[in-house]
């Protein structure tokens, strides 16, 4: 048995070649870091810093020591008695993560767009909490809160409405500090948060090849709190990176390796993962795409690189569409992307519920992606081959022309067959009698049912709630002009 179904877009030699080119690039040319304190920290740690051009270079030994220093395995914690998530997944599978940052909410009843409100954030969080196929929660950005603190307000509401692990996305260095303080209150203490991180943060680069202020701040603060961090790179092929698949993978590899080395120089052993989020610009319209054939293949290749060359857990969009509403295009693109990315070995498939190139969130799409996730998990799980699964004895005993329905072997294994409640398994007659409902209608009904029967806020102790309110008030007082 292979432990997992694998698609390897690159050969081992190609992975090694890209890695060697990254090392050559980072040791001779390097990247620009627009953050004085970070440059000073790097200088102290032995990296080469040109303080006149802000160019940062790493010799090979520092790069290789950083790769060795990063932990191979660690946990994401959740609350409410949910089990910790071990990365990489112990069964070689993946975790799923919902869409981030989207500013638009797609109305379930009408498929129309409107601005996200704080109430929507609460609703989406409650929905994510009850959808078992979804593991990690990210959040849309409320428009009815002050801009400077919208992400802080959103995080508080997430804590109040889901117990799942949360991926933070900060809009400034200062707002991250407040978000991490909220997480400390939720976890009980700074130590408890580092021990069982109920959140993790994201850093990245200003592609191409600049570590910009906000990302340096995020790295420094995350190292201070000791929670895990995603090292992202968001190249847009043809725009901020080469138009070719390999060229975009190369840029993403350089950027991820850069933030990997910086984090491990500041805090050796900080849990990190590689997060290549590759887009491709449509050369005719200039619109970015996340689920074109090229962007999917770039992401799959970059995931392979992160796993094999950097030996880190890897995350990218495994869902999401360039389409505008939950429709056939959304289903095709999310499924294609998911199948390819999960087979490429990603540990986290992100972007569930997101549409319009990561700018909108839809409860209906969340319900649909929650259905796709277990199917992908089942397929990626691969085939187990042994005496029992081959049913050797049963096949020897088979009378030609008989059947297997009554076999003990069938009885023993019949619950292993994956069923989803949303994809049709009834006869067409039953389907017609029930109103000939298409997938989207069924998803909408499931959402309405969950809303009525299951979706509810999390129990949060009064004291914790008060502490969180204090932090948010403080943020509003200090950050809102």
């Amino acid at each position: 048995m292979t432990d997992r179904l694998r698609v390897r877009p690159l050969t081992g030699e190609e992975v090694a070649d890209i890695y060697e080119r990254c090392v050559t690039f980072l040791s001779t040319k390097g990247v620009r870091v627009d953050h004085q304190r970070c440059l000073e920290m790097m200088h102290k740690a032995g990296a080469q810093v040109d303080f006149t051009t802000n160019q940062l270079r790493f010799p090979r030994d520092i790069i290789e020591a950083a790769i060795r220093a990063a932990p191979r395995s660690y946990i994401f914690a959740a609350r409410g008695g949910r089990p910790d998530m071990v990365l990489p997944h112990p069964k070689g599978l993946f975790y799923s993560r919902t869409g981030t940052g989207g500013r638009s909410y797609i109305e379930p009843a009408t498929n129309t767009y409107r601005d996200v409100s704080l109430a929507d954030v609460a609703e989406v969080a409650q929905l994510i909490d009850v959808l078992d196929g979804l593991d990690i929660c990210a959040y849309p950005t409320p428009r009815d809160m002050p801009e400077a603190t919208a992400d802080i307000h959103a995080l508080k509401v997430l804590f109040e409405n889901t117990a799942k692990h949360i991926m933070l996305q900060n809009y400034s260095g200062e707002s991250l500090e407040y978000q991490l303080e909220l997480a400390v209150v939720m976890a009980g203490s700074k130590e408890a948060l580092a021990r069982r991180p109920i959140v993790h943060t994201l850093t990245g680069c200003l592609t191409p090849l600049v570590l910009q202020d906000v990302f340096a701040e995020t790295i420094i603060k995350t190292c201070e709190y000791g929670v895990p961090m995603g090292l992202s790179s968001l190249p847009s092929a043809g725009g901020t990176s080469p138009v070719t698949i390999a060229g975009t993978v190369f840029i993403a590899a350089i950027e991820i390796l850069t933030t990997l080395v910086i984090t491990q120089l500041i805090k050796p052993g900080l849990p990190v993962y590689g997060f290549p989020i590759t887009f491709a610009i449509d050369m005719m319209t200039g619109r970015n795409r996340q689920s074109s054939a090229e962007s999917i293949l770039m992401a799959a290749s970059a995931i392979q690189f992160v796993k094999e060359a950097l030996k880190l857990p890897a995350h990218t969009y495994g869902f999401g569409t360039d389409g505008y509403i939950p429709d056939a295009q959304a289903a095709i693109e999310a499924t294609l992307r998911g199948a390819m990315i999960s087979s490429a070995g990603a540990d986290i498939l992100g972007g569930a519920g997101q549409l319009n190139v990561a700018t909108a969130i839809s409860p209906i799409q969340l319900v649909i992606d929650d259905t796709i996730a277990p199917v992908l998990r089942r397929i990626t799980g691969g085939v187990k081959v042994d005496e029992d699964t081959l049913a050797v004895k049963d096949i020897w005993d088979t009378v030609p022309g008989s059947h297997f329905l009554e076999r003990t072997h069938t009885l023993k294994h019949c619950r292993e067959v994956l069923r989803t409640d949303l994809l049709s398994t009834q006869s067409r007659e039953v389907w017609t009698a029930e109103g000939s409902k298409d997938l989207f209608t069924r998803a909408r009904e499931k959402y309405q049912e969950l809303k009525k029967t299951k979706m509810r806020p999390q129990p949060v102790p009064d004291e914790v709630r008060r502490e969180m309110e204090k932090i948010v008030k403080h943020a509003d007082a200090h950050m809102v002009k």
């Binding site: 500013r103 601005d115 950005t141 428009r143 801009e147 400077a148 919208a150 992400d151 809009y171 400034s172 200003l206 910009q212 906000v214 847009s236 043809g238 725009g239 901020t240 138009v243 610009i281 050369m283 005719m284 319209t285 200039g286 619109r287 700018t359």
Partner: protein, 211 residues
Amino acid sequence: MASYEELQQGVITADEGKVEDLVRQLLAAGNNPLDIIARGLTAGMAIVGQKMKTGEMFIPEVLASAHVMAKGMDILKPLVGDKLSSIYIGKVVFGTVQGDIHNIGKKIVSMLLESGGFVVIDIGVDVPAAKFIEAVKREQPDILALSALLTTTIPRMKEVIQALSSANLRDRVRVMVGGAPVTQSFADSIGADGYAPDAVLALERAKQLLD
């Protein structure tokens, strides 16, 4: 003999050597440099603009044509002297607002504006209102273009427009806004003069703003 049609073709196919040769030949044959520009180079670029709108040409091809047109211009510029300003249809100061570092959308729009005959001064990302005001004073552009990609930074656009008013510059410059979270109704609500959802329409809108 070299013709304006051939020169237009040279621009459309982005054939640098051909365009430079043809410009020299047309000059040698006694044609007026301003005619070579108008009937050859910019006429070719106008066809490119059409082909971009219909999707026949891709953005990098349009940019290559614009680059080749500029090469032809380089030969003619010294000959037309101060009549040169009439070649450019307008000037744009362009920046991404404070707190926002997204820049590729701005770059694409800038380049297409340039290809359409605008001079664009790109003042970068994370630009505070004061720096926009400074640039408007210094460059005296026809259009001030603002980009923002975050819902948390689009309010800065309104602040730039207010700062223009405070500096008594509002009636001297047309303001165009764009970026993924920007909509026509948002643009209207902050008193911007123009908005476009993508680069192709941005060029069209910018031209309209000059009328």
